[in-house]
């Protein structure tokens, strides 16, 4: 049991992201309202962004912006700076998330024009008539 608690404490960042991800994932597949599904999608993506950024953390590290002249003189210790790669990846993933949200919102507007509602079961009812 103690080993388990120690494991959780050492990796609590993963527990946080998994809980967030589960909230988002449940909203995406379990909710009936299309806007709630979209919100779930955003939570899901945010959880993944948190996950990646948390992997870039290094104990004793600061933001990866170095002093130019010190670096050119070769005096940089990599242990003092966080890992820049996850940040780069997540900048890209954030943009992708924004884009998908934008397209999804426009599709929702079309759906609302078409059926007058955003509840999935009401739409399906109208379709089956």
């Amino acid at each position: 049991m103690e080993a388990f608690v120690a494991e959780i404490v050492a990796k609590y960042n993963y527990w946080i992201y998994v809980v967030l991800m589960m909230i988002g994932f449940y909203a995406m597949i379990g909710k009936r309202n299309l806007v709630k599904k979209l919100l779930g999608m955003n939570i899901f993506q945010t959880a993944i962004i948190l996950f990646f950024v948390s992997t870039g953390v290094k104990k004793g590290g600061s933001i990866p912006i170095v002093d130019k002249y010190q670096a050119l003189a070769g005096g940089i210790d990599a242990a003092n700076f966080d890992n820049p790669l996850p940040h780069v990846l997540m900048l890209t993933a954030i943009v992708v998330g924004v884009s998908v949200t934008g397209v999804a919102l426009s599709v929702l507007i079309r759906i609302h024009k078409e059926y007058g509602t955003l509840e999935e079961n009401e739409i399906l009812e109208k379709l089956s008539k």
């Binding site: 933001i63 912006i65 900048l91 954030i94 943009v95 934008g102 919102l105 426009s106 507007i109 024009k113």
Partner: protein
Amino acid sequence: MRDINEHTPGEDLIIKAAVRLLVPFAQLFGLYVVVHGHYSPGGGFQGGVILGAAFIMLALAFDMKTSQQYMTIGVNAAFNNLGAAIFVGVGVLCALFGGLFLDYSALDKLIPLGPVEWRSFGIFLVEVGVGFTVMSIMVLLYWNLSSAGSMKEGL
């Protein structure tokens, strides 16, 4: 059609005046974030979003027409194509000047600045391209989503 002069919540003198005052500073700050991305947190995407937010603020405080006086739909289309074209174009230019795609140091043959300095400058060019595209697309998304596609009347 809603009368533009009609007093509605949100179209308030204080808000209008504040936005009028705020927009130039927001734009300046956006430019700063784009340009200063080499030395501080920032870059094309972040700065582009701030620049776009300035136009969205105009559209929110006044109406969509006012924001379209400052950036017409045609200019917006030109900007988003231009931004993407700058990025891809820089890459193609590198390839045409004998380097690999997006190898900015190859542009040294165009203007001799030194290969390493060209990498720095190439990143800057590319960030400007990203900034243009992101700014115009953010505004475009707002116009379209708030007016259900008509881009005339909306929030």
